[in-house]
Amino acid sequence: MFSDILDEIAQSEYKYGFTTNIDTEIIPAGINEDIIRLISSKKNEPEWLLNFRLKAYRHWLTMKMPTWAHLKIPPIDFQKISYYAAPRKKGPKTMDEIDPELIKTFEKLGIPLEEQKVLTGMAVDAIMDSVSVKTTFQENLAELGIIFCSISEAIKHHPDLVQKYLGSVVPYSDNFFATLNSAVFSDGSFVYIPKGVRCPMELSSYFRINANNTGQFERTLIIADEDSYVSYLEGCTAPMRDENQLHAAVVEIVVLKNAEVKYSTVQNWYPGDKEGKGGIFNFVTKRGVCKGENAKLSWTQVETGSAITWKYPSCILQGDSSSAEFYSVAVTNHYQQADTGTKMIHIGKNTRSHILSKGISAGYSQNSYRGLVQVAKNADNARNYSQCDSLLLGDKCGAHTFPYMDVGNENAIVEHEATTSKISEDQIFYCNQRGISTENAVGLIVNGYAKEVINKLPMEFAVEAQKLLQITLENSIG
């Protein structure tokens, strides 16, 4: 399989950079209360949600963009962004009603929207700009009581669930970008797995930015009821554009007693060109709460895209004996920047968390791991193990580790290990001498280094991720 992957390496540096010509409705740029009312009315939202948005917006006006990250972020003019863009044809629908251009677009991205074309057990919610285009396999899942739809649909059809959990993990006032998201979020995915149900297929959201000068503010809410299980995947791409585009999503996950959620991300937003021009600002708040006993949440992320990645998928370990994992590979090349990691908040007794972070920096990029392990006073026997490795390709890039620990319980065991290594010229030459090109040698070494994390991904995504690592690092040596 590996050789297949190597053979398929695309020559182009970012093969998802095309634009779809489609009739798109974009509201005027800028943000104010009228814009928020407009977004809400376009989506026919209930009063309580409009109030949630307005409350968030008013709070956002009092906030300043944080500056503590190890990132250089050019000023963002929030009045120049359009906060809502939608392909003109409306609503969830049958295949016949979807603009063929959209179907083609997602096919080009490897996401077939026609269920008969999907061979693997995967249901997809495809989201273009601000709206969900199509969610597959909804009926099959509904037979088990599983709700998988866009959040807009969920607001219409399952308002009680949404109202109960929206903002319960990431409150509207949480942080600058999460608050902005709460005010203007457009679409995203909603998942509810009922008690005792093991979701039989992978659920997946595919996010695509297409329109110009717009931001994407999606909101995802996943609820795993007692004794349930779900594996959820998220992928994303965007066209190549010279200007930066803002992506500020919020993902909230609620894991109840004995339930398990696996959340995997392969993030491949447009990273900008070799000189650092353009690219997506990926400023995302992702957080889950293990609410009940023995609840389990695991985050796996492969971050290869975006001009700037700034996010910390986190877990609040509230239930006793609950556990959480965070597996991350973050690759930066050229002028990309990443400040990413996790927060593990131990509140319940006998809670466990495991952090494995693999950073890979090349070119002139900067790659930071930032993580917080917090153990509350009553979290007896809490246990954390963190391992943060950095791999440097070349000598103009940087790798940084910022581990924070805040341990308030004597019984807690918190361990942190960190390593930094470099791919040596002698390793590359050794491969060359055996007939392996430099490009493939870097791919072998990087994939070997990231293997532990890649192996946590569902099979389909693992293959994709391996390819991505290699493509991202093309021409990064010599």
Partner: protein, 255 residues
Amino acid sequence: MLEIRNLYANINGKEILKGVNLTVKAGEVHAIMGPNGGGKSTLALAIVGYPGVEVTKGEIIFDGKNLLEISPEDRSHEGIFLSFQNPVEIPGVSMVNFLRTALNEHRKYKNLEPLSATDFLRLMREKKELVEMDNKLTNRSVNEGFSGGEKKRNEIFQMAMLEPRLAILDETDSGLDIDALRIVANGVNKLKRPDNSIIVITHYQRLLDYIVPDYVHIFYDGRIVKTGDKTLAAELEKKGYDWIKKELEEKELQY
């Protein structure tokens, strides 16, 4: 097969090779001996195209092709193999992935289909036996945590997998105990064919007891100063290198 003509090369600006001439024909075994620091390894690295060795003058022709214009990986594809003196460790890359990638790139160069997983594993099993390579080693990352002797054995195992037409063994005998030496040498002998050649770089006669050379060259101060048959190696073993140095000095005085 291999023709080196008047080769000069630098490392970090320092001249190491000073006019090497060497002709190796198909089926021949050549031994290169000589004191440390004479440039034997540099010659090996120049042949395989190590970027740290800068060729300033001369030619290396392999099967009529000018090697100096060919990338290191294509030199490998053309059939040149170096058993490194100090094989590097590559953590995280399994021997299986490494060799499969290498082998399939060789096959691609020859316009052959990649080997199927089954065929590849069968081939690997077969070649492992040749050098009595432990299964445990091939399940690990490339050279990671291998002892000195295991690394050398792994080099010959890779040679068996890639079936080169010209193999250069750079001090493959150093760090091997007598049993391992015998196994490695037997492995090399089993790979010998009338159409492939071997260059053995060594300090000691003992490897040449197993891999019997057609020619023995003495390498000193950047070039080959004396060539003979296998008896020259025995003579060196007895007398050391000093007499060569003396002979050379006397020669220089005559001019």
